[in-house]
């Protein structure tokens, strides 16, 4: 179960255990309403304020409308590499001081301070004692306004190496570490912006120049391409004054170039399958991916309900593959939540020591077929009950991964609706059983399916792709 979720979004550094726990929890409830005040500065910066004085902490969370889908061919991995550069100092913040100041103010690196990059957005956040709110605003404003002033080749080379280590640790040296980039490459055609992984190609990263990085910054890191959330133990009027003071002077940028074509046929149109020998894998594993409606599609919640109905320790796949047939030790079902064109729903099963990859694959495909019969009202109710819990559970935190600030920013960035978090449960309630059944019939079909079969291959060790020592 561990390999499934943690690799989907890349973070500047490994989140702590607490953050990892919160990362998967979505949002909104009737008992718990996340209230907010909104404004737009003259330079186009959207700002949301949320007051919650139950703990003396404040959160600053800024989402830039840029992700790996904006990258041009030959420049893959830039959005993420750039995110790393955002921690390397700005005009008034020497290299290393960003973390030093925040840690000294009482924020933990990883869980309270981080930056993450996905296909669709890049975010940066700080959660710290509320008396230090202005420090977080000052730091975010300084890097939004002046980062390129102090960007050097040396800093870029250093973070390039860190990113390559991130890839080694998360991809090259882990069992099944390549599944994500393979899945993307099969689900999305080569010309599609979701075709490549967020971490990108190491060759493209090696070729990145300081000018490339500066251009990327000028294009996307502007107030009119971001939403800032200030949340927690704050006074809204004071917070507004601080935001204007620190962000008000930053000039807006011209409109970012339009996205390449994102739309896709509803189904892939042919079955695809790859057998992957894996020197890191002790047991076989199977990943089956399907192209499904995106998180901005009117059927987004239906996808989430379908995913939740198939998953869980009492779900039909766990029941059949782990408990009854005993061919798998674990089963996971989840969707990524990509917002443009199409999303991916993945079924993952891990085998037992010595078990046969072919029979694991056959069993998974059989049970995905049988799962149609398990899409019942009871299972839909189970999915809704879990969504309700996940919502409240995630909202315990003011900031950090999946906390209140994150939910408000996500709503604005993807849906231009900060209130999105408060509409989640009603949206789940509107999904009907026929909706889910129709979606499953349409999408969980062989012509829309990508199969990755990982086979343990201890004999010839994979040739490591290690760069020359600096």
């Amino acid at each position: 179960m561990r390999p499934l979720h943690h690799a989907l979004v890349l973070a500047a550094l490994l989140p702590g255990a607490l953050a990892a726990q919160a990362a998967r929890q979505p949002a909104g409830s009737q008992a718990t309403r996340i209230t907010y005040t909104e404004e737009t500065l003259p330079n186009g910066l959207k700002v949301l304020y949320h007051v919650d004085r139950s703990t003396p902490v404040a959160a600053v969370d800024i989402w830039y409308n840029v992700g790996s889908k904006m990258e041009q061919p030959g420049h893959t991995g830039f959005a993420h590499l750039f995110e790393h550069m955002m921690f390397k100092g700005s005009r008034n913040v020497p290299d290393g001081q960003h973390f030093a100041l925040l840690e000294g103010a009482g924020a933990r690196a990883g869980s309270d301070i981080n930056g993450t990059t996905s296909w669709d957005r890049t975010n940066y956040f700080e959660q710290l004692p509320s008396n230090q709110l202005e420090l977080a605003l000052w730091l975010e404003a300084d890097r939004m306004g002046t980062l390129t002033d102090v960007l050097t080749r040396e800093k870029l080379d250093n973070q390039r190496e860190v990113v390559k280590n991130e890839r080694r640790q998360g991809v090259d040296n882990q069992p099944y570490g390549t599944w994500l980039e393979k899945m993307l490459a099969y689900i999305y055609p080569e010309s599609h912006p979701y075709h490549h992984s967020v971490i990108g190609s190491m060759e493209d990263l090696s070729a990145a120049s300081v000018d490339d990085v500066k251009n990327f910054f000028r294009t996307y890191y502007a107030p009119n391409n971001a939403v800032l959330v200030v949340a927690g133990d704050i006074d809204v009027d004071q917070a507004k004054a601080l935001v204007r003071k620190h962000f008000g002077w930053i000039p807006r940028a011209g409109a970012a170039p339009p996205l390449r074509e994102m739309s896709l046929p509803t189904v892939i149109g042919r079955p695809q399958r790859e057998v992957v020998p894996d020197a890191n894998a002790p047991v076989p594993a199977v990943y089956v991916g399907f192209r499904v409606p995106s998180a901005r599609d009117r059927r987004a919640e239906t996808v989430q309900m379908l995913s939740a109905m198939l998953s869980g320790r009492s779900g039909p796949l766990y029941e059949a593959l782990v408990r009854r047939a005993g061919v798998a030790t674990n089963v996971g079902v989840f969707n990524f939540g990509l917002v443009d064109g199409a999303d991916i729903l993945v079924v993952n099963a891990t085998g037992k020591p010595g078990s046969n990859a072919d029979s694991l694959e056959a069993a998974v495909l059989r049970e995905v077929g049988n799962a149609m019969g398990a899409l019942t009202t009871e299972e839909l109710d189970r999915a809704r009950a879990q969504a309700r819990f996940n919502l409240i559970n995630g909202l315990q935190r003011t900031g950090g991964f999946g906390g209140r600030a994150d939910m408000l920013a996500q709503g604005y960035t993807f849906y231009r609706d900060p209130n999105w978090v408060n509409t989640r449960l009603a949206a789940f309630d509107r999904v009907t059983l026929p909706d889910v059944q129709a979606l499953a019939r349409e999408r969980l079909v062989p012509d829309n399916r990508v199969i990755l079969v990982y086979v343990p291959n201890r004999a010839p060790a994979a040739q490591p792709q290690t760069p020359a020592r600096p």
Binding site: R91, E103, A105, G106, Q127, P129, W138, W249, A385
Partner: protein
């Protein structure tokens, strides 16, 4: 929300935007000073005991209608025989796979339909069944969880399945340099007789030797209301907790359990010792540099915690600044400071790229020696202490986070106001305290270095560092050469 005001405000400010683009009115070139710190208190635990001897501890934190409840049984792997390593955890995992006439599927289904999170497991000190639920369904979820602890049925087929799953998890762990080096480090710093030299999950060999009778016997021997604590944290007060506890656990019976005396002898080390474990083809190496140090309850806990934080507690700490930021050898390098009963491991640990492994080991050893032998500058210590003090409210904002801290206090016999006074005691640590524990609780002349990686590429360069004696172990801890 207030669209009218927002529009008016935007219009009012539009005029001011005519300033030159580069001007930064008010933004300033130096970090803003903090405002006045606002008060924070950890809620005070309340407790009572049921007639059957079950101790109940309640922490009321009603920010959201959610509760974390855990039944903590002192039945962790500390108390299991060495040859039955993995028994405590396997037993705990099997609690939810059949109880009181329900199958594992039925239990999972009922919990998931309630929208509750339910898990069982065991570490060194304890086994636990833990449920997190929204308040309206808490009672039902807790009663169900209680049945799994009090009346598990341990079906044979589930025993076989979960044991296989544990063996598979063990194999997955052995497939990573992180897992290999972690296991070897525990074996290297503790004597083989110490439970801490093993992992609660067991090994393939010990798991294969476990029987269903072992599991039922262990449950019978260890699980009793007089050997357990019920902890409830969240939107629940003491009166509600009493009712909930009585309804769920009132019928539980059992005598006091005589826990065997446990000791975790540390391996005597003279000089630096290097242990290598081979993982052919590895593009990274798992590195540990450290030794056994303080446990919970040690008066030097706070000074050691501070020392650990300076060395590797965060991004700006020495290990990460050196190995990641200065040299780019890793995605991160941090300390592992894990006090347990009377003793616990303390180390710098990191996954570093293969062709820089020797340099990374040398730098990690150098940083480890430096913190123990050179005074820590006052400014560095102050900033580090501010971090631990300031971030504490963040760490207990969730019911799970707060309950985790309370569980530690309960298991290791810490005073129940430990977390109430935690921030003050951290803030009181001085550079002299660090120097003192650097001399008494860290022994830089007897450090243990463990590296798991591709020995065909890293063994010779590591030997060339001449750190001390070098041994090569297999994955099971047997000396190869």
């Amino acid at each position: 929300m207030n669209r009218l005001n927002t529009l008016a405000l935007a219009a009012a400010l539009a005029g001011a935007a005519a300033l030159p683009a580069a001007a930064q009115p008010g933004h300033g070139t130096t970090p803003p000073a903090p405002g006045a710190l606002r008060p924070f208190r950890v809620p005070t635990p309340q407790e009572f005991t049921l007639d059957n001897g079950l101790r109940v501890v309640v922490v009321n934190q009603p920010a959201l209608p959610i509760v974390n409840a855990r039944i903590i049984v002192k039945a962790g792997s500390l108390y299991e025989p060495a040859e039955k390593n993995g028994l405590a955890q396997l037993t705990a995992l099997l609690l939810r796979e059949g109880a009181a006439g329900m199958t594992g599927s039925q239990i999972a289904q009922r919990m998931e339909r309630l929208g509750a999170q339910f898990q069982t497991g065991a570490g060194w000190a304890n086994a636990s069944a833990q449920v997190t639920a929204l308040k309206p369904v808490l009672g039902e979820a807790l009663e169900l969880a209680a049945k799994t602890v009090m009346q598990p049925t341990f079906p044979e087929n589930e025993f076989t399945r979960v044991r296989t799953q544990q063996i598979a998890n063990w194999a997955q762990n052995q497939a990573t340099v992180e897992g290999l080096s972690n296991d070897a480090f525990a074996r290297a710093i503790f004597e083989p007789s110490a439970p801490y030299s093993r992992q609660p999950s067991g090994t393939r060999a010990t798991l294969e030797g476990l029987t269903l009778q072992d599991v039922t016997g262990w449950h019978h021997q260890m699980y009793s209301p007089r050997n357990a604590i019920l902890l409830l944290v969240g939107d629940v007060n003491a009166a509600e907790a009493r009712q909930l506890a009585q309804r769920a656990f009132g019928g539980w019976t059992g005598a006091a359990v005589n826990l065997p005396a446990v000791s975790n002898p540390v391996r005597a080390a003279n000089g630096t010792r290097v242990i290598l474990v081979d993982r052919p083809g590895s593009v990274q190496s798992g590195v540990w540099v450290g030794q056994a140090s303080v446990g919970w309850g040690d008066p030097d806990y706070f000074a050691m915690r501070a020392l650990s934080e300076v060395l590797g507690g965060g991004f700006k700490a020495r290990a990460n600044m050196n190995l990641r930021e200065r040299h780019g050898w890793t995605y991160g390098a941090f300390t592992f400071f894990n006090p347990r009963a009377g003793v616990g491991p303390f180390a710098i640990t990191s996954s570093v790229r293969t062709n820089a492994t020797d340099s990374a080991v040398a730098e990690a050893v150098r940083e480890y020696r430096r913190i123990a032998t050179e005074p820590v500058p006052a400014a560095e210590l102050t900033s580090t202490l501010n971090n631990v003090v300031g971030s504490f409210p963040n760490s207990v904002q969730t019911v799970q986070g707060l309950a985790g801290n309370m569980e530690t206090a309960l298991l290791y016999g810490l005073p129940m106001d430990f977390w109430t006074t935690f921030r003050e005691r951290v803030a009181a640590v001085t550079p002299a305290d660090i120097t003192r524990v650097g001399g008494s609780k860290v022994r830089p002349d007897a450090v243990t270095v463990v590296v798991a990686g591709d020995l065909s590429r890293i063994e010779a360069p590591i030997r060339a560092l001449n750190l001390g004696t070098v041994e090569v172990w297999d994955a099971d801890g047997n000396k190869v050469r």
